[in-house]
Every structure is written in C-alpha cells, then in structure tokens.
C-alpha cells in the first residue's frame, strides 16, 4: 500500500537559519507531489507541485524553494527563514483522479 512520510513533526528555527523539510512516498511510482502551507484556522495554500524528477512548479512567490531529486522524494527548503514562514507544512501525493494522500505535517515556528 502507498504511504507518505514527512518529517520532522515540529521544528523551531531562528530567523535567518536554513530550512529543509523532507517528504518521501512509498508504494507508488511517478506520483504528483505537493507542498502546502496552512496558516492557523485557514485553508491550504499550494506552494509547489511536481509531476516528475526535477520538475517543480511554484504557485506563489516566496522565500521557499522545492526540489525533487528522486521520484519519490520531495524537499522544501529555504536559505534564510523569515518570521512569516511560520506555519503548518503539509506534503501530499496524488496518483491520478483520486483523492490526495497527505503526510502528517510539520509545524514550523520561526523565532
């Protein structure tokens, strides 16, 4: 069966520090992968999506970047975090016309 792993669950980072969040998918090949951010009490904002290795589409201009070095690995990064980068980050995959499967999320607090 397909599973998705996202870590860490929580992260506290100082302003100006780098960020790397990793997401891996098992049990499927060539998935569409997504990074979302969810502000408190709000809906989901799509940050990046990828339809294949090295293929990244950015939805909104921001301080973050994404990479897909392997078919089932999706990484969200920043060189220098801002206070406004705080939020709940969710990785997800989809295999076609079915629903998305989400990771358990990473709560990022930039201090």
């Amino acid at each position: 069966s397909q599973t998705i792993h996202q870590w860490p669950a929580t992260l506290v980072q100082p302003v100006g520090s780098p960020l790397s969040l990793e997401c891996t998918v098992e049990g499927t090949s060539n998935p569409n992968l997504y990074w979302y951010r969810q502000a408190a009490g709000r809906g989901l904002q799509l940050l990046f999506y990828s339809v294949g290795i090295g293929q990244i589409s950015s939805e909104v201009p921001q301080n973050l970047s994404a990479s897909r070095p392997q078919d089932r690995q999706f990484i969200l990064s920043s060189k220098k975090l801002l206070l406004s980068d705080s939020g709940f980050y969710l990785c997800a995959w989809s295999g076609g016309s079915y629903g998305y499967t989400f990771g358990s999320g990473t709560r990022l607090t930039v201090v």
């Binding site: 996202q6 809906g43 016309s97 629903g99 998305y100 989400f102 990771g103 999320g105």
Partner: protein, 114 residues
C-alpha cells in the same frame, strides 16, 4: 486565487445529531473531494464525487453534488464525539496546461459534544 467556500465556518452539535456542511465553488470541475483534519494533523481523504455523479455514500457520510448550483454538501449522520475535526472541500479541475489542480475551501470546524 479562487477558493471554494464552506459554510458554516463552525458548527457545534450534540452526539447523535446529524451534521451538514456545505461547499460552493466557482469553476467547472472534474470532481469534488471532502477531507477531514484533526487538530494539528494532516488531512484525510473522505469521499471523491465526480462531476457526473449526484450523490455518494460512505458509511455515515453522504455527499451530494449539484453542478447547476455549483455546490456540494457533506452530511454526517448519527455524529460521534470522534467526528470533531475540521472538514474541507476541494474542487479539482484542469488548468490551461492540462494539469489537475485543486482549489481548497477554508473549512468547517465541527464540534460534537458528548
């Protein structure tokens, strides 16, 4: 960007009662999906209803879709305290690049009181 809209924003009911949440959208869609999110957790996919379907059931969940009104409803029957969560609708469509995209609503926060 366009977003779906759920109403109500918050709903508080007693155990055993039914809970109904609504979702309206603006674009033509391929399908509409409902998700559940427990506090501080990832989203869990509940039901997907395609644009040519009008109603779908899964256990205590019933989803309807009215494409003429661009709206959907999620009904949870005989609610339980464990149903307490936020519920989101998402509409799927193909963009100009023929990529499948989702538009998310802001969610309905459901509290089921024991």
């Amino acid at each position: 960007s366009q977003q779906g809209e759920e109403d109500p924003q918050a709903l508080s009911i007693q155990e055993g009662e039914n809970a109904t949440m609504n979702c309206s959208y603006k674009t033509s869609i391929n399908n509409l999906q409902w998700y559940r999110q427990n506090s501080g957790r990832g989203l869990v996919h509940l039901i997907l209803i395609r644009s040519n379907e009008r109603e779908k059931h899964s256990g205590r969940l019933r989803v309807t879709l009215d494409t003429s009104k661009k709206s959907s409803s999620l009904l949870i029957t005989a609610s339980r305290a464990a149903d307490t969560a936020s519920y989101f609708c998402a509409t799927a469509y193909l963009n100009a690049g023929n990529n499948r995209k989702l538009i998310w609503g802001l969610g309905t926060s459901l509290a089921v009181n024991p």
